[in-house]
Symmetry: C2
């Protein structure tokens, strides 16, 4: 089967680019001396996980318990669920443990820590540390860290496994220097928290850090034991826009069909809108606003200069350009590919990847695990 | 089962509100003297379709051929696929016809019209007319309309069924007067196109108009035969923000769990982020920006004054407030419900609706038809 035979919109994954991305990150984490625990929240695919785990220790990160169950079904047992634990989800987490998962959960508050301690089932827990992102986590130098650690360590069913930090504010950075500085904040905050636990006689075998920008720009991860980048497998226009990757490193795209011409308006209509591309507008904050995605040649995946999806209705995308569109080169029925602003959001609309090897032939279909 | 027993995030649909919305639109279209052909692109559910079709003629509108196949499976045969036809989709459309669908497709260009005419299978086609939205459609007073009509009417396998207009620019309106004016543009443009076809001796039995704002604010639909609103079944914060409905009319919400407190920042963390709520930021353009959604009491569905989801990460939402948050009223583990900016986008992340009757008891689970 060829890309041209696929009903549109469809999700396309370039395995050759993906493999280059996973190899590069594996090599990079090895050079920095930390284990790579890839975050599968973007890919949600066992086949992608296999590539991401090549040359690594086998542990993964997930963002939902649904992903945890799916990857356990595919033979992966060392799973870190990196969203603050809700007490009502403890039964499900324990059931995954019963089924063979070495599941690690996280918390950042005494209330949930007490619920975990009182739950009765065995749980392995990391404490989430805030290193400046102001999303989840306790500050590394405050009293809550030790309070939570003592609650967890005091419960016979709980294993206190360490600390976890995520410098999501690396996405706000607009220079390599700034990202390197945030990476150092992430490392230093996590290590400070770990040292405080150890100094208090508490265990801290894991010091987990990571986001794609900090993994790419960190100069030193001394004291960290592992990193958890995720979107590096596919990359996207936002990551390219902040300088984390090039456009050629983007492995994910949406195949669409030209369904209308508006010569008077210098626009094209494609059958990929807000559902197919997502409504993510993260590139609006960057020097080069990519609209809802860059329009590329379907066969080669190379961007048409100046073409972007300007407007996204539910099933319609309006493609605008900063120069006259060559309508004859893009007739009604022509296929195009659209690079996404945010790979995690775009991929979530699809049940499966149509896999290519930098060509037009679809060599495989890889299912995804959506939902919660 | 109770809302409190559901794993979060989860999609909640209030059947009582839904039924009031569908009844009101049915009555309104009857008063205006047009048939209601509800657009199922928002709901994508046979059970919702049943309510929307009560008291109506039985025809529906869809936005994907996947929806067409799904609703046909559920016994609905009169189906209008309201996205410009891509030639490569004609085989699938014809197959639906073979399976019993009375499928209507649309086009706005001679190239696709020729492909439809040359396809050989039977197709029923409407010509899409642009009434100011500048998305799809030919202008009602230009030469393309008759050119396309003659191509279609000249093919023995094609039934030219009429014209279709969608005044999507009604979403840009900020007053009832402006919406009524756009509704009149939509009606007048569609009727002008229909009259031109008839004057040229061409058939035009259907004159189809519609969007939710124009359906709600139209004062006269004389000459139109049917209307195709869709989001009115659920409504959302955008529709409320432009005055099409009240907050109490919103039937859809996302159930989420409080997973973190940030008293220093006056924010809460919930386990519903960009995937659970969508990244739609349509309310950013309105006087009251609702962030990624308004936070409500889980049991009653009533908004907590001033609480909205300010930031949406993949699986985290940061809830901010314009006043001090009562953290004790929203402890870790508490459930909340979030009203969405854009119901069509938010619902698409879920496999099913958890149905309530304005209470906390989940009385049914209604599957959805996602994808393409």
């Amino acid at each position: 089967m060829d890309l041209d035979d696929l009903p549109t919109p469809a999700l396309v994954l370039d395995r050759r680019v993906l493999a280059a991305n996973t190899r590069a990150m594996t090599a990079r984490m090895r050079r920095l001396g930390v284990s790579l625990r890839p975050h599968l929240k973007t890919a949600k695919s066992a086949e992608v996980a296999r590539l991401a785990l090549e040359g690594n220790f086998g542990g993964i990160t997930v963002s939902t318990l649904c992903e945890a169950a799916y990857f356990l079904d595919h033979g992966i047992t060392d799973i870190l669920y990196a969203v603050g634990m809700a007490p009502a989800k403890l039964d499900r987490a324990a059931a995954l443990g019963d089924q063979g998962a070495d599941l690690k959960i996280i918390t950042d508050n005494a209330y949930a820590a007490q619920a975990i301690a009182a739950h009765g089932a065995a749980h392995t827990v990391l404490i989430e540390v805030d290193v400046g992102d102001k999303r989840g986590g306790v500050v590394p130098d405050g009293p809550e860290l030790l309070e939570i650690a003592r609650i967890l360590d005091g419960a016979s069913t709980v294993t206190l496994a360490g600390v976890l930090a995520h410098a999501g504010h690396s996405y706000e950075c607009r220079s390599d220097e700034a990202m390197a500085a945030v990476a150092e904040d992430e490392r230093a905050g996590a290590v400070m928290a770990a040292e405080r636990l150890l100094a208090a006689g508490l265990p801290c075998p894991m010091v987990s850090v990571g986001s794609t920008p900090t993994a790419v720009f960190a100069r030193d991860l001394g004291g960290a034991t592992e990193a958890r980048p995720g979107v590096y497998m596919f990359y996207d226009l936002f990551q390219a826009g902040i300088g984390v990757c090039g456009l050629d490193d983007i492995a994910l795209s949406v195949l669409a069909t030209v369904i209308g011409h508006r010569r008077d308006d210098n626009t094209l209509l494609v059958d990929a809108g807000g559902l197919a591309l997502s409504k993510d507008r993260s590139t609006a904050a960057l020097p080069e606003d990519r609209g809802f995605g860059l329009v590329c040649d379907a066969a080669s995946g190379r961007p048409y200069p100046g073409l972007r999806v300007r407007t996204a209705y539910q099933e319609h995308g309006i493609v605008a350009a900063d120069r006259p569109i060559d309508f004859d080169a893009l007739p009604i029925g022509a296929k195009v590919r659209v690079l996404p602003n945010h790979a995690c959001m775009t991929a979530a609309a699809y049940e499966a990847y149509n896999v290519v090897d930098s060509g037009a032939e679809v060599v495989a279909s890889w299912p995804r695990c959506n939902g919660w």
